[in-house]
Symmetry: C2
Amino acid sequence: MTAIRYELKHQDATTAARLGVVHTPHGSFDTPAFMPVGTQATVKGMFPDMVAAIGAQIILGNTYHLMLRPGSDLVSRMGGLHHWMRWNKPILTDSGGFQVFSLSDTARIDDDGVTFKSHLDGSTVVLTPRRSMEVQNQLGADIIMAFDDCPPAPSGGAGDDDDSTSLTRHAIDPRDYPRRVREACERSLRWLGLCKTHHQRPGEQGLFGIVQGGTDLELRSWCAKRAVDHDLPGYAIGGVAVGEGFGEIQKVVRHTAPLLPADRPRYLMGVGYERDILMAVQAGVDMFDCVLPTRNARNANAFTPTGQIRLRNAQFAEDCTPIDPGCDCPACGGGFSRSYLRHLFQAQEMMGPILVTAHNLRHFQRYLLDIRRAIAQNDWSLIAQRWPAALSGG
Amino acid sequence: MTAIRYELKHQDATTAARLGVVHTPHGSFDTPAFMPVGTQATVKGMFPDMVAAIGAQIILGNTYHLMLRPGSDLVSRMGGLHHWMRWNKPILTDSGGFQVFSLSDTARIDDDGVTFKSHLDGSTVVLTPRRSMEVQNQLGADIIMAFDDCPPAPSGGAGDDDDSTSLTRHAIDPRDYPRRVREACERSLRWLGLCKTHHQRPGEQGLFGIVQGGTDLELRSWCAKRAVDHDLPGYAIGGVAVGEGFGEIQKVVRHTAPLLPADRPRYLMGVGYERDILMAVQAGVDMFDCVLPTRNARNANAFTPTGQIRLRNAQFAEDCTPIDPGCDCPACGGGFSRSYLRHLFQAQEMMGPILVTAHNLRHFQRYLLDIRRAIAQNDWSLIAQRWPAALSGG
């Protein structure tokens, strides 16, 4: 018995894109799916009802943050993450590994795990494959992720949580990159075995394996094969969009996605912009998460089909139109004008981030709705017509 | 033709309390009424739909803030405050006078008006009775307030806007108080005449006069009589709860309310706690506004029938009950526990202030609902049973 089951609904005629449904103990979600990030057991500024009304069917929680505050013991005693945060639909938690490196200056990795100082109180914390499983078992998400070693790209990249403390990851010395990526790959596979062993609730929570390998395609192939050997309910492509450009991302995704079993969901972690998502969907990827819609919203950046607009700009002071006339979100559908939204940001009012978060999340959900429609109809012209930024790179 | 009409529904048998309805160009509201404060054209963190769902039928906007940012010209060009902020129900704006003194260190008053430096950019601004009318005419609220001179109590008191920049008002030297209050009274009456003259939209906006006089009951009587001579659609008791204690407030309210015409709504500005409201209702007051529910919510203070609780306290870490089991607000009715709310505040998540604001606003609306019910039934035992904090002072 497995907690997660992938159901293929339709295979696109011209690309590797596929329409599906993932079944979990807390209900199903349509794929390709975009998961809003709820770092600290809340999608920032959003009532759970609104997240659902906006069309999200699954959200992501961050193990690193929740293990430090309030602690997974507490969440477990309070009935688990779903009950505690009042979200009775599917949840996925990451393993905490990636964020240790995003958020702690002092993280030290070895073959057992990662030792770091909490960014909250400076206390020393050890995170291992076993501990990550314990924490994720206590949180109780429907999909939990293997604890892996995810090195940044040589140039460094942004953190993947949705919290203001998140800064840029530490870059790797380019000369050290090949060795470091190979090491990460081997370590991640060894840890994957440990995660599988220590996962205590496989009937209620599906463990996804993660394929590392950086931009080395041979390494990706090797890693994918070993991960797939574990016969897990789903697989993720990790170590992508950690600082490299679109071309590199595309190369890795197109290479790796077909190596993952067609009867399991495929998840591209931490991605991304509309263009990245479209490319990955057409390579056969089913699941995405990214902080872009929520984090950018709090900086007054609103997504539109033709690209982002900065609502603080003076040009919007007397603009009585909504962010996107074609949008049905609580901001646009509610009649809130760019003029009013700009005022809210100028006045540092909470409703600015709230309304634009609602809009940006709906923007991504509407985009994924159209992607699913395009697959169902074997017709990608819908995307080209409605989502020009997805083709141009926004 | 007047914009505002008071309809008496029922006079309480044992007190001066009265049940009524105030009709405005944007609909009616039941009285006694509590008006949430929407300082900067938004009730902080609340969708207008939620403010309405919580039971508020009229909200308050602050002229001082809106004239400085974004400016009433802009709001007027954007269709007026109602349209711009998406609140199609009654709005009341204050005159700006009180807040000049709350928020500007450099305010200088003379017989023409007040000259001050903007707390936003330091520019010099002049506010006069005529200018206050112009600004309020542009904002377009249903009820607008006369520009008055409201001196603080000898000990000083809290500001009445709902903004974090609001600090304590400057106290008056007690020896100078009697002279200063008399001066404020005379000046406010002179200015009331000017406001009436310069009010350009009496058919769409009702101008309320304000009775000053501090704690001097003779002065209150004199001021009330002169104000009432202007035959305005409503009257307010100003200069109360600016730093004095409950006993003094009670003395002034019980003295002044009966001096105001029974066929017009009576508004006690900036009040207050449950006990203050109950006392004033029983003295014949119909309208209240206060930042307590919204401002305290952002500091993690939640109102309950037995008094406020501080949700940051460690005792709530694993408290799985709602703030108030008898409450039907989005927080309590939505099943959000004190444990979860505490986490949101500890983690500095927006949903903490949002959920507790919703709760506190609903707390006050439920309290006013019960007060209206008590009047309708000539039976105050309901309040004693359900709202112990209203009797004890909470």
